[in-house]
Symmetry: C3
Subunit: 205 residues, 3 copies
């Protein structure tokens, strides 16, 4: 049962990030192969980085290429439907928020599975959640979303902290996964709606 | 004999990408050490990514530093001869096309050697072929060539598909390698000459 | 004793690069979490790349998360003190020079420890020294410092060559580490003060 929940969240995160990558391709008016490349790289980028750094090689999509095929199919689907949302940039940001929250908890979870301690698990949640989007923005030649004014990395950090904290308090994993996801997504969503941001560094004198 | 063909193609790909990296350095008017850095990173970038993701570590140039030395020598040679081609940008694109086609087949071949299935092999061909160029363009602060209007990633994809497909049909490896290379280079060359491009995504009403 | 010297230099390099990452965050007026992300990625980026390529996985900061905590603390400290230096950009360049020189020797040293030959060790010194800064500049959406007019990569190269050369001549490791550091930092410092640069490639005719 637990395996199923984790795996479902992980799959959902990959699909959702693949959509954001393909939407970036639509903003750049790329061809369908460009959609597939950008969608796939964004979908599997965070998990690839996580696996490499933890040393669980070969990476997950070499072990199970179904992930690759899913990214390819999703990216092609976006090629034919990207005109449907009213604002593709706004849609990208919201879908990205779902992926951010999902990977913040599943990234931390995978690190715990690989016997990492809590500090590494939180860091891995944050990095898995943000890495795919950074690659997407760099390949699309746009300013990385981690530089956005609204709260972004902090949402992933909060979600990963909640998840790892609850696991440390022996909470059931499903509850911890859902709580972490809810916190990360809730913070990012409120930030997007209300334009919330943490106080920024201001040069003085 | 087969070992020799694969190895020769692999070497050629590395040298050819090193030349494109050094040409990028010439466009940025870097010094000779910058040529060496950019040439080397572009030459070995794709293969490094491939080895890391497949988990065949340490990577190939740590096992055999001759690859590094070759990139260094090639980059230095470009420093003194880059004024010879009439248009360095045009020359870079053509040399890049050769490297793209070479790595599309040798990348897929290395993945098959590491016991990967056909889907992963094709993906690895595409990624090995495009990764070095992406790094080169990012380090050179230019728009990544994968965003170029002409067919680019698709050529690598076609070459890798042909190679993996022929291997699957039990064709001799040398024939599969040459057919895959010819298809990838042919498509990219025709695209460069004729300005061919796949239909691009167009925002609608 | 030797362990202590290497470890101290390594720690200093990480802290110093974390400061440059956080200073980049201050230039981008990021929030405190952005400081932590950029500081940490810059601090551990070079060593992460080195460990991955050498295959010594999981990477050092997964084995010992104290490195992560140090980067977090340093980045937070910079958030509250970055207004103190008169010119943050100038300060960043000088601190970066210290990190460059430190990682040029410790990167080469780690490669020798992992049984690499001298060519790989020199390359690893250069890459470890420059990788963190490249990531920092890309994430900060600024032109990579390796494209700077003043001597940069060459300083790391000279330091790594001196270190590996002295080790090859059976010099004591502490002496080799200090000589390599001094050469790398000295060259970069003189370049910064005097605007030294190697002859750059100039298009002809």
């Amino acid at each position: 049962m637990f395996q199923t929940v984790t795996m479902a969240l992980d799959w959902l995160g990959i699909v959702v990030f693949a959509v954001t990558g393909a939407l970036m391709a639509s903003r750049k008016q790329m061809d369908i192969v460009g959609f597939v490349l950008l969608g796939t790289v964004t979908g599997i980028g965070g998990g690839t980085f996580r696996d490499v750094v933890l040393g669980t090689l070969p990476v997950f999509w070499v072990k199970d290429p179904t992930y690759l095929l899913a990214c390819v199919i999703v990216s092609c689907a976006v090629f034919f439907t990207a005109h449907i949302p009213q604002s593709r940039h706004r849609f990208l940001l919201w879908i990205d928020a779902v992926g951010l929250a999902l990977f913040a908890v599943t990234g931390a979870e995978k690190a715990l599975e690989a016997q990492s301690g809590p500090v590494v698990a939180v860091a891995m949640g944050v990095v898995t959640a943000t890495f795919g989007g950074v690659i997407r923005d760099i390949l699309g030649n746009e300013s990385p979303v981690i530089l956005s004014r609204e709260i972004y990395v902090s949402a992933a950090l909060a979600g990963a902290l909640i998840f790892v904290g609850l696991i440390g308090l022996s909470a059931p994993r499903e509850a911890a996964l859902i709580a972490g996801f809810a916190v990360a997504f809730g913070i990012r969503a409120l930030a997007l709606v209300n334009g919330w941001s943490l106080p920024r560094y201001r040069p003085r004198g």
